[in-house]
């Protein structure tokens, strides 16, 4: 009597676990095939070349070009993130307080560029920013400059175009968070004697911080891996990590070296996610609560 009842429940529990596993199996297989295996293959390649070797990693950590490229990639990503926050916060704020209908217009304007290919947008910026581009032409005709400004084929052009492409990833999480801030908290702030500035500073801003963190993480991580935009607008002088990967493969056929760069970048991203997840739960970054 004493032994049989737990036995039955234990067996039942085990069978239930097996059923659950069977249900999850297809999804697990897809993840295994499409994510775990390729990434594992990547990691393997970086340390196996006719035997174990750390040559690829040694090179990354000793050669100047890698260091400079990693540093530049992080600088650009950080700049893009901060600028996206500076531009995105007012946009999201406006959308969150706009009367019904207007918020949809604002968000539509933010999301609209999504429907154009990244390539098209990069070339569009090229057309705007180049020496004979629209902006330089206009400034010269207005007599504001004599020589065309170097707006593209450098870090500036890369940042501008990347910022444009990634702005929605800042605005949308910000808007989602701001929209959830109860309006009666703002009314309460006012009723307790706080003017609009104090209410914003002490109530609205702190409550929008999860959105700020989510947007910044998304934009920063996406910017780290940007390839087409810096390739087209960096003019070969702005070498980001993604371009190192591509050069290693296309120019030198060095799959091992390319893989090692990828692994280091992946590790850096994982480290950032880990650091952020200590402040806010990751599921909120991914849009669920």
């Amino acid at each position: 009597m004493t032994g049989s009842a737990p036995d039955i429940s234990l067996r039942h529990q085990r069978r239930e676990q097996l059923t659950m596993l069977a249900l999850a199996l297809p999804a697990l297989l897809v993840i295994l095939l499409l994510i775990v295996l390729p990434v594992g293959w990547l990691a393997w390649q970086s340390i196996w070349h006719n035997g174990f070797t750390f040559e690829n990693y040694r090179r990354i950590f000793s050669e100047d070009i890698y260091w400079r490229s990693f540093a530049l990639t992080f600088e650009i990503s950080l700049a893009v993130t901060l600028l996206a926050l500076l531009l995105g916060y007012p946009i999201a704020y406006a959308a969150s307080i706009a009367p019904r209908g207007w918020n949809i217009v604002i968000l539509a304007l933010v999301v609209l560029p999504f429907w154009t290919s990244v390539l098209v947008r990069a070339y569009a910026w090229l057309a705007l920013l180049q020496r004979t581009g629209v902006i330089n032409q206009l400034l010269r005709q207005l007599g504001l400059i004599d020589e065309p400004l170097a707006l593209v084929h450098n870090t500036f052009g890369t940042v501008v175009a990347t910022l444009h492409i990634l702005l929605p990833f800042m605005v949308l999480p910000l808007y989602a968070t701001m929209q959830k801030i109860p309006r009666d908290l703002l009314q309460a702030g006012a009723s307790l004697g706080a003017g609009p500035v104090l209410t914003f500073w002490r109530v609205f801003l702190p409550l929008s911080l999860p959105g700020v963190l989510a947007g910044c993480t998304l934009v920063f991580v996406l910017a780290l891996g940007f390839y087409i935009t810096p390739e087209l607008l960096g003019g070969g002088r702005t070498v980001m990590v993604s371009m190192l990967v591509s050069r290693n493969v296309e120019l030198y056929d060095q799959w091992g070296a390319a893989s090692a760069v990828g692994v280091v970048l992946l590790a850096a991203v994982a480290a950032i996610f880990f650091a952020v997840s200590r402040f806010i739960p990751l599921d909120r970054v991914l849009g669920q609560k």
């Binding site: 009666d184 702030g189 009723s191 004697g193 104090l198 002490r202 702190p206 409550l207």
Partner: protein
Amino acid sequence: MDKGGESVDIRSASKHYDAVRALDNVTLNVAPREFVSLLGPSGSGKTTLLGILGGFIQPSSGSVHFGDRDVTLLPPHKRDIGVVFQNYALFPHMSVGENVAFPLRARRLPKADWPKKVNAALAMVGLAGYESRGISQLSGGQRQRVALARAMIFEPRLILMDEPLSALDKQLREAMQIELRELHRRIGATIIYVTHDQREALTMSDRVAILKDGKLVQIDAPQRLHDHPADAFVASFIGEASLLPVHPVDSCSVALGSSILRSTRRIPDGDGLMLAVHSEKLLIDDGKGDAARNRLTGKVTDIVYQGESLRVFLQLPDGTALSLRQPSHYEAARRIPPVGGDLTVTLHPEDTIVVPKARQ
């Protein structure tokens, strides 16, 4: 703490949303230190009126005065009034102490004075020592108290409350009603209180304003409201009344079907009169007492046991249905015949309330 109350003067305030009249020409004067409830069903305009008082809603026409200040165009943060919101509206990212100190921060009071004031405000609502707690750690009743402390810490002379007890369970709600009454007496502020719970309004208020479809129907002390309703709507909204159509006979009696009922009250002019029979005012006829009492005989159709009282449903010969309430103790309950039996009840002429269907 007692700085006295402020008088509130609402003059012909209206609020239109497109074609909808959320508030329709309401004039209301509230005396200093008075506790006035705004009572009405949802959509009656009571929340709109409170929003206008708080400055969150601009009236389409009319004006609002606090004391001798015209505050109609004044933004909320300059009105210097305490507001307690329905869902408390506590700042979730601040501790209890920070929430309560918020009005002090907004008024740029020196930080050194905060702890003493916060302590006093929390002590007033029975939460002394809760300063460092987080809002999410509090129960509903405690949150309510924090919201009260926050609205009172700057000693406003007028406090608005928007159904502050509606999220609490019945027992806590009734305890808080008594506490709020006490608190009102101690701080002496004017309180305007929105509720849809008539018992709550009657329990706490000096006067109750009844709103319907954006209009002010009647404002009176609880007892006046209960015993002298202005029309059938008020009679049905306050207390537990059966409303029965009657015809005027002369200046002091009406006809209910074939029975003639005498009333010592003034019977309103015109047709479309209703008799408002409060279920507690019908007594089982014991053959004694005032001969002038109105008597009605009908069949018992149902008896509902409700704990401290019984509700007896009665049908008069002409089909009219009404109900009476009897205490559930043995002496009273044994006089009620079983379902199907005949029962004669009395209604004193003093309690014979005749109201117009709608106020002229």
